[in-house]
C-alpha cells in the first residue's frame, strides 16, 4: 500500500502517508482520504443513528472495529449494572450496531475488551502507514506505529461508516525533536507534559506532529503511545513517530498483523515510512531529554504544568491580562494559593489508568513505587487497567496483589475516571492525582480538581497523600 515515491521527492512521514490515501482532491484543496481502520466505541451511537435515519449500511465492516469503553462499569462486567438507562443504552447500542452491521466487536464479556486505543495496538489492528480514525480525540495514540491517526466527530464517523472515506483539509507539519537521555523517574508522560508546557495547548493547532530524536527512539512502543496520545492536548491534529524495529517487533504475530508472505510484503513497505533527511517541516521545536523533570499540572489546562519541585504560580507574573485572569480562575477553582509548593498539595483520590497510561508498563512503573508501601490515610486510590489483557498480564506478574495489599482498588478495564461518563467520578471539591490526559474544569466530575502526572508520580502521591517527587521514593 505504501507506494514508493518518485525519485527526487523529499517528503515527511506525514506527507508519504497522506499522499498514499488521497482518493481525490477538491478544487478548494480539501482531500478525500481513504480510511484503513475505523475504530468505534460506545460513544458512537449518534453516528449509527445518522446512518439508520438514511437507511445506509456500513460500507466496509471488515475495516471497522468496535469495543465499549466509555459507559461501562469498572466493578463488574454486566451491562445491566449500569443504572442510568441512557448510559446503558449507549453501551448496548454499540453491541447491537456492530451485530447488525457485522462489525468485528469485543464485548464486555470478552477478555480482550478494553479501551479502544489500548486494544487496537494490542491486537495488531493499528499498523504503520495506515490511516486510522475514531470518534475520539485521543486517536493520535496509534501514531506511535507510524500511522496517520486522528479523531473525528459524530457526523464524520457516520460519513466514514457509510463511505470508508473522510474529507480533510491538509494540516501543516511540526517536528518536535528531543535529544539526550531522560533522568531518573522521568517518563514518557513527563515528556509530553513538558512539550505541552513549552508550546501551549494551541501550539500545534492545524499541525500534524512528528516526534523525532534519540530520546523518542529510546522510548518503548508503549511509551511512544503515551506521547502520541496527548498530541491533541498540544492542539495537534495528530502525532506520529516513524516506525522502527521496536514497532515491527511489537506487531509480529499479533492477532490482526499480516502473516506469512503478507508480513514480508508489509514490512518492506513499512521500512519506507520515515521523513527523508532533507524533508522540511512548517515548524520545528527542539528539546533536551535531560532538561525534563517529573511534571504535574496545577491548573485547568494541560499547559498549566510545572516540574514537581515548582510552586503554584503568581498571577501577577503572567505575561498579559488574559493569562493573569486564567491563572486566577484556575487557582480559585483548584483551591490553590500562589507561591505554595506543589509538593504541599494534599490529594484525596488517585486514578491510574486511561488510554494515556493504562498499559502494562504503566502499571509496572506504578507498582514499583507502591511495593512495600501503603496508600495514605484518607486517600482513595484506583487502578483501572486499559484492557482485559493488560489486567491478566498484571495479575500474572502479581501487580494486582501489590496494589491491593497497599490499599488500591483493582478494577475492570474502561475509560472510567478519566472523564467519568460511566459514573466513576471525583466528588466536587476533591483532588485527584490522575494519569489521564485532561485537567479541564469538571473533567472528572462537576467540581473535581485534577492534577495530571505519570503513573509513577501518581503512585508516589497515593502513598504520601500529597503531590510528591517520585525521585525521592525510588
Amino acid at each position: 500500500m505504501q507506494k514508493t515515491q518518485p525519485m527526487g521527492q523529499v517528503l515527511t512521514l506525514f506527507e508519504k502517508i497522506w499522499r498514499s490515501h488521497v482518493v481525490m482532491e477538491r478544487d478548494d484543496g480539501v482531500s478525500l482520504l481513504y480510511v484503513d481502520l475505523h475504530l468505534v466505541q460506545d460513544g458512537s451511537a449518534p453516528a449509527f443513528e445518522m446512518l439508520h435515519q438514511r437507511q445506509i449500511k456500513v460500507r466496509v465492516p471488515s475495516k471497522t472495529f468496535g469495543t465499549p469503553d466509555h459507559y461501562i462499569p469498572t466493578l463488574g462486567r454486566n451491562l445491566s449494572t449500569i443504572r442510568d438507562p441512557e448510559k446503558r443504552a449507549m453501551a448496548k447500542a454499540l453491541e447491537d450496531d456492530c451485530d447488525k452491521h457485522h462489525i468485528p466487536f469485543f464485548g464486555l464479556q470478552d477478555s480482550r475488551q478494553g479501551i479502544i486505543h489500548v486494544i487496537a495496538p494490542e491486537q495488531g489492528l493499528s499498523q504503520p502507514g495506515q490511516l486510522i480514525v475514531c470518534g475520539d480525540s485521543h486517536t493520535g495514540t496509534h501514531g506511535a506505529f507510524g500511522a496517520l491517526a486522528f479523531g473525528i466527530g459524530a457526523s464524520e464517523v457516520a460519513h466514514v461508516l457509510a463511505t470508508q472515506v473522510v474529507w480533510q483539509q491538509k494540516p501543516l507539519t511540526m517536528r518536535i525533536n528531543i535529544e539526550g537521555t531522560l533522568g531518573k523517574g522521568v517518563t514518557a508522560k513527563d515528556i509530553i507534559l513538558a512539550i505541552i508546557g513549552k508550546i501551549g495547548v494551541a501550539g500545534a493547532v492545524g499541525h500534524a506532529i512528528e516526534y523525532t530524536g534519540q530520546t523518542i527512539r529510546d522510548l518503548s512502543i508503549q511509551e511512544r503511545m503515551t506521547v502520541c496520545n496527548m498530541s491533541i492536548e498540544a492542539g495537534g491534529r495528530t502525532g506520529m513517530i516513524a516506525p522502527d524495529e521496536k514497532a515491527f517487533e511489537w506487531l509480529k504475530d499479533k492477532p490482526f498483523s499480516p502473516k506469512g508472505s503478507d508480513w514480508e510484503v508489509a514490512l518492506k513497505g513499512w521500512r519506507n515510512l520515515f521523513s527523508d533527511s532533507a524533508a522540511v517541516f512548517n515548524q520545528v521545536v527542539q528539546m533536551r531529554g535531560e532538561e525534563i523533570s517529573p511534571m504535574v499540572t496545577w491548573g485547568n489546562s494541560p499547559e498549566d504544568v510545572l516540574p514537581i519541585d515548582g510552586i503554584v504560580p503568581f498571577p501577577a507574573d503572567a505575561p498579559n491580562s488574559v493569562k493573569r485572569q486564567s491563572i486566577e480562575n484556575a487557582e480559585a477553582y483548584m483551591g490553590l494559593i500562589p507561591g505554595q509548593k506543589l509538593t504541599e498539595i494534599k490529594i484525596d483520590h488517585v486514578f491510574i489508568g486511561s488510554c494515556t497510561n493504562g498499559r502494562i508498563e504503566d502499571l509496572r512503573s506504578a507498582a514499583a513505587v507502591v511495593k512495600d508501601r501503603h496508600v495514605a490515610q484518607g486517600v482513595q486510590a484506583w487502578v483501572v487497567p486499559g484492557s482485559g489483557l493488560v489486567k491478566r498480564q498484571a495479575e500474572q506478574e502479581g501487580l494486582d496483589q501489590i496494589f491491593m495489599s497497599a490499599g488500591f482498588q483493582w478494577r475492570e478495564p474502561g475509560c472510567s475516571m478519566c472523564l467519568g461518563t460511566n459514573g466513576d467520578q471525583v466528588p466536587a471539591g476533591q483532588r485527584c492525582a490522575s494519569t489521564s490526559n485532561r485537567n479541564f474544569v469538571g473533567r472528572q466530575g462537576p467540581g473535581s480538581r485534577t492534577h495530571l502526572m505519570s503513573p509513577a508520580m501518581a503512585a508516589a502521591a497515593a502513598v504520601t497523600g500529597r503531590l510528591t517527587d517520585v525521585r525521592n521514593l525510588i
Partner: protein
C-alpha cells in the same frame, strides 16, 4: 442542514482563551440522544454555581446578549474532546456562527457539518469586535457568507476564508455525505488500486 446566507444580530463576547468542549457541554450529557435540546446544557457548569443558580457574571446569563446568534470567542475555541455535542449545544442554544482567531481542529470540522458557521479572523480583528460588543452590547454584526464578510460598523468590514465546498453546503443547506456517496466509483477504483 439549515441554509445560511446572511446573519445579522448582536454577538455574545466570550473573552477567554482555550475554551474546551468539556466546558461547552459537560460529559455527563453525552449519552443524551440528539433529539434533546442540548441548548439546555450549553456551558452548564459555567452558567450555574454549585447550587444550580445562574452566575450573573457569565455573559450567557446577561440580558444584554439574549437572542445572540453570533458567538465571539478567543484563541483555540472548542479544543479538547471530539464531542459533536458541543456544536449541537451551541446550535441548539440559538447560535448560527462562531467567530474566533483559532479553533480546535475537530470542533471546526464538526461545526461545518452542523450548520454552525465557524469564522476565523485575525486576532486584531477579533479583539476589535470584542471592544465593540463589550462597549455596546447592541452592536449589530452582519455576516454575509456570499461575500465572505463580517461587518460591525462603518470602520469594521473584514473578509473571511471558507473552502468553496463548505460554502456551498451552507448556502444550499446540504450536507457532504450525499455528495460523497456520488463519488463511490472513485472510491471503488482506489480500493482496487490498493489491492493490486
Amino acid at each position: 442542514m439549515e441554509k445560511f446566507e446572511t446573519l445579522q444580530g448582536v454577538v455574545l463576547p466570550l473573552d477567554k482563551v482555550n475554551i474546551d468542549t468539556d466546558q461547552i457541554l459537560p460529559a455527563r450529557y453525552l449519552q443524551k440522544p440528539r433529539a434533546n435540546n442540548f441548548g439546555d446544557y450549553l456551558f452548564k457548569d459555567v452558567r450555574h454555581d454549585g447550587n444550580g443558580l445562574l452566575r450573573p457574571e457569565f455573559v450567557l446569563n446577561q440580558a444584554a446578549y439574549v437572542g445572540a446568534q453570533i458567538m465571539l470567542a478567543n484563541d483555540n475555541f472548542g479544543c479538547g474532546s471530539s464531542r459533536e455535542h458541543a456544536v449541537w449545544a451551541i446550535y441548539d442554544g440559538g447560535f448560527r456562527a462562531v467567530i474566533a482567531p483559532s479553533f480546535g481542529d475537530i470542533f471546526f470540522n464538526n461545526a461545518l457539518k452542523n450548520g454552525l458557521l465557524p469564522i476565523r479572523l485575525a486576532k486584531s480583528e477579533v479583539m476589535s469586535l470584542f471592544s465593540l460588543a463589550q462597549q455596546n452590547p447592541e452592536t449589530q454584526v452582519v455576516i454575509d457568507l456570499v461575500a465572505q464578510t463580517v461587518v460591525a460598523s462603518p470602520d469594521f468590514c473584514v473578509r473571511f476564508e471558507i473552502d468553496n465546498f463548505s460554502k456551498r453546503c451552507f448556502l444550499e443547506g446540504i450536507d457532504e455525505l450525499g455528495y460523497t456517496l456520488s463519488l463511490l466509483p472513485q472510491i471503488e477504483a482506489f480500493e482496487r488500486k490498493q489491492l493490486s
